[in-house]
Symmetry: C2
Subunit: 428 residues, 2 copies
């Protein structure tokens, strides 16, 4: 079963808005066994929309369209699709009623512009929008399905979950897809590729490998698009073999985020975490707190751009900053131990560095970052040298900081196990 995803909007093609809908929809389609053939992004012009829709309907079984359903005049998707499917636009009583409720609950008047959103093609199934004002539309023609949804991501997602995904599963007889993803951190793509070269060569033709790098991570994805129990087992065995080769870089499986895995480890050990950020400016804490339930182990952070904050709240010795500089091993350690004491946590992480573009020197160029860790019986810092890109330096520092703590917790866990069972090591 094949699917095309069409996103509509001038704002996408001039780059003012990044399309996140296609990726999200693709993920959902893959998980139910629909393979995505292509993403296409076109502008708010009827002829271009029709060309993309015609082309997609000739290649695939399911066409999912987002965007262009807003109440404003630049949005033409509904009128264009009504023309394409020879529909008449009629007022839908339920949509109109939901519009009235939606506006009343927000204390706003239902305007004529918004009222037009209750007009729907007479030959589609209307998909009600739980989070917004534009209804979705499900068309069928020659055994193929085209679904039009709003472009606002959280409206589209609710509509997909409530209506579109259940209807697709019900309507089509889907083959089984199996993906298994190995999550690695702290190692580059080509270095990984060299280590696992022989293993990669041994893969059978029906199992595909992809390298998926993102800042601080490389995901290795094994896929089979027509899967069964035997193939799944084969993929899991291949993953075990891979663990023997690159185990120390693997922090998890199947798209678990590094911040989720760190949170899981902290929870498992009933540990808590505090953070003293400087160069990462809040991004590290943001990653940690973006995990639902993080309040179970995360206590709080300080972000100290000004040196006085480091001395006043974190109790870092002003002389130390003067002598060693704010970007130094000693200050990184002092920040980590300082926030650990002040906020009272099991573990703490600190970051201090030069994110750029300004602030670099000959000795400490832009990209120089120290990451500190303090814990029950340790405190240390490690230097990293990134490049010239401010946002990338912030991202990489945050990822490496989380990984440094993750590895330290695992190291202590393993030491504890060895101490509890000292004979085991000798026997092996």
């Amino acid at each position: 079963m094949l699917c095309d995803i069409i996103t509509i909007g001038d704002e996408l093609l001039i780059g003012q808005v990044n399309d996140t809908n296609s990726g999200w929809i693709a993920r959902e389609m893959n998980s139910i066994g629909v393979r995505v053939n292509q993403f296409i992004t076109v502008n708010d012009r009827s002829d271009h929309i029709i060309e993309a829709v015609e082309n997609a309907l000739s290649n695939v079984d399911i066409v999912l369209v987002t965007g262009g359903l807003g109440p404003t005049r630049d949005d033409l998707t509904k009128e264009t699709l009504a023309g394409f499917f020879n529909s008449r636009l009629i007022e839908d009583a339920r949509v109109l009623q939901e519009l009235e409720t939606y506006f009343a609950s927000r204390g706003r008047k239902l305007t004529d512009t918004n009222k037009k959103q209750a007009l729907v093609p007479d030959n589609c199934e209307v998909l009600y929008n739980p989070n917004g004002t534009a209804p979705g539309m499900w068309f069928e023609k020659n055994e193929k399905v085209l679904v039009s949804m709003p472009g606002v991501p959280y409206e589209m997602k609710a509509m997909m979950r409530q209506h579109v995904i259940p209807k697709i599963i019900h309507r089509f007889n889907l083959p089984e897809v199996f993906h298994h993803t190995i999550m690695t951190t702290g190692v580059g793509e080509s270095f990984l590729s060299d280590i696992i070269s022989d293993w990669e060569t041994s893969l059978p033709g029906y199992i595909r490998l992809a390298y998926l790098p993102s800042p601080g991570l490389v995901r290795l994805r094994l896929s089979c698009y027509n899967s069964n129990a035997a193939v799944k087992e084969e993929i899991l065995q291949l993953s075990k073999k891979l663990n023997l080769l690159i185990g120390k870089y693997i922090y998890g499986y199947d798209d678990v985020l590094l911040e989720e895995e760190l949170g899981r480890l902290l929870k498992e050990n009933m540990h808590t975490l505090s953070v003293a950020e400087s160069c990462t400016g809040g991004y590290l804490s943001h990653l940690i707190t973006s995990v639902p339930g993080s309040s179970g182990y995360y206590i709080g952070s300080t972000i100290s751009y000004a040196n006085e904050v480091k001395t006043r709240i974190l109790d870092v010795d002003p002389d130390l900053i003067r002598k060693k500089g704010a970007v130094s091993e000693e200050v990184a350690i002092a920040m980590a131990t300082g926030v650990r004491t002040t906020l009272g946590s099991t573990w703490s992480i600190s970051t201090t560095g030069i994110a750029g573009p300004g602030g670099g020197t000959q000795v400490k160029p832009v990209g120089t970052v120290w990451i500190g860790i303090a814990g029950p019986s340790v405190s240390f810092a490690k230097q990293f040298n990134f490049a010239n890109d401010r946002i990338r330096n912030i991202q990489l520092s945050s990822m490496f900081a989380m990984n440094l703590l993750r590895m330290e917790i695992i190291r202590l866990q393993e030491t504890a196990i060895l101490e509890q069972n000292p004979e085991q090591e000798k026997e092996e």
Copy 2:
């Protein structure tokens, strides 16, 4: 002059990586007067790549391709394009030398896998990669241009800036495009549309308006694709008329970010800023510090998930938290005044709320957020009610928090001007 952007990669079509390259390239192309016709995303399969390339070359003048140039075996773009353009692959001495330097500087061995990256088609112009190992390729055929670049965003961006953009400007005779974007915050798309309905109807056919919503913002973009001095002036006059209608929602023009505008205001007044975050978990500080030069006005933040952090560092009365709850007007104000005193800033912002998915109650459901402001002579807090989506609540809270401070600074500026020139007001 028309352009198609093709992104290649299985990882995009299964949604494991979001494409940010197309949007960035589109922005650059628009700014030099190349109109983007379409984005297409295809998987790592030769036949699919060729189909997309053939289709694009038949529709547009310039085809920009990213992705699939990595050293690993799943990447087929170079071989596929070499086949398509009837090229022979030859070793490029400069690429090889740069590869050697690149690996040596990182203390790593140049492997056979990486060495293959020095092979390039013999009938393309090689684009050297300042930030990575895969070279780009510039092909010309029948007056059309196809450029292949690596998919890693910061490698692609450097290659675009250094090679591709200057070469496109040099190679083609480009019409002038003019975009003017009005940035609004604190108001919804359909509400805006109703206020400006008459103004919108008055627009001439050669000037297009688009509504571009993103969390907390609506951008209104006026565009003309074949512009001249008179049209530019007309667009700027239209923008002035718009300012009379919706001035209070406009915080800036031409894609200035809210965090940039807030930073500009603080710098202009020589004011400083500190932040006490709770529910936004670092994201607000991250936005503020993502602006280069923010260290000129931003001092630091505290992030307090645990109530003890609020009492210990921000000096919030524990009784107040007990009586009113951590998510309350009183605690928001106490956090803002507390961080202002502790970190010693002109202004401070606080956030306290229930981001979700857990933690909601009947009285304070998920999405309830209080934002506090403290400054030289004011302290107050305002309640917001967002919805159920954790990440969206964090984003919206951060945007509304910055806007609340922005409006307060402007209000004080205007009051000061009135106080200095009390006669002026009467005269007008």
